[in-house]
């Protein structure tokens, strides 16, 4: 086993361990932080697979923006008590059984398929080569993705406004309208 093979197994163990711990945490912040560790490991795997730009993008976007967004939401919404019923046996036992059946089937398929014992070679796609390839063959998908991000922005803004807050009323009118229009749920800003 070469050095890079050893790195692959070590990083895979870290990724799987961190993810397995993350999905069993009761505290949401702990789960998100363990998942950030898992994403760092995945970025290392991308670097081993010869995709340094993807490794950097994974850290920046996944661990740096998406998980931080989760942390914002978790810390903004103060949950006083842990109200989740964790792992009742009738729920996680069938899930675990079917997961084991899936793993047995997956291992059998991987062993039986003829192309899976070929060892990977060490190659690297520099960011320049990768960018030239993407913009030469998939420029239209990049445009569609930018449109998709605009959609996400508009959707998140619309879902985030409160009733009466975005209609340019005077302060007094906004207060009275908020008083009358508040629905039954608790307020986000309530102390």
């Amino acid at each position: 086993m070469t050095l890079y093979g050893f790195f692959f197994y070590l990083i895979s163990a870290v990724v799987i361990g961190a993810t397995a711990i993350a999905i069993t945490r009761r505290n949401l912040v702990h789960a998100v932080v363990y998942l950030i560790v898992s994403y760092f490991g995945t970025a290392m795997l991308f670097y081993l697979f010869g995709a340094p730009l993807l490794a950097a993008l994974e850290i920046i976007i996944y661990a740096g923006a998406i998980m931080v967004l989760f942390l914002f939401v978790v810390m903004m919404i103060r949950v006083e008590s842990y109200e989740e019923v964790m792992f009742p046996l009738s729920q996680w036992l069938p899930a675990a059984i079917f997961g084991l059946i899936y793993m047995v089937a997956a291992v059998a398929m991987i062993i039986e398929t003829p192309g899976t014992e070929i060892s990977l070679r060490m190659l690297t796609a520099t960011p320049r080569q990768f960018a030239l390839y993407v913009f030469e063959h998939h420029w239209f998908s990049i445009e569609v993705i930018s449109l998709l991000l605009l959609l996400a922005l508009v959707g998140a803004l619309h879902l985030g406004t409160r009733k009466g807050a975005a209609q340019g009323l005077s302060a007094h009118d906004a207060d009275t309208r908020l008083e009358g229009g508040r629905s039954g749920g608790p307020d986000l800003d309530a102390p």
Binding site: T19, L35, E83, M103, R121, A156
Partner: protein, 100 residues
């Protein structure tokens, strides 16, 4: 000469199974979305490994698209979760019975 391709598939398969377990068993909306993110991560690993196996940059291109779509879906999904929390006051999906 790193590892057999089957081992890459196995690692990603285990990660995917963990993601499905998290999305199915946890009764918290944020943990369900985290399970979806774990699944997307596992698929990204398979695509990057397959790009190395077949010496083709299409796999890495698709990982780029997966990253962008995951960012989009998380932002809109979390906006929906915050709105749902404002309406019902809980993250538990079994409490969302306003339609009944």
């Amino acid at each position: 000469m790193i590892v057999p391709f089957g081992h890459v598939l196995l690692v990603a398969g285990i990660l995917f199974a963990l993601g499905v377990f998290c999305a199915v068993v946890r009764r918290n909306l944020i943990m369900i979305v985290l399970g979806i993110e774990i699944m997307l991560n596992a698929v990204s690993i398979v695509f990057a490994g397959a790009a190395l196996r077949w010496n083709n940059l299409e796999g890495q291109t698709f990982v780029l698209f997966i990253l962008a779509v995951a960012a989009t879906e998380v932002s809109v999904g979390l906006a929906i979760i915050v709105y749902a929390f404002r309406r019902t006051g809980s993250f538990d999906p079994s409490k969302f019975n306003l339609l009944r």
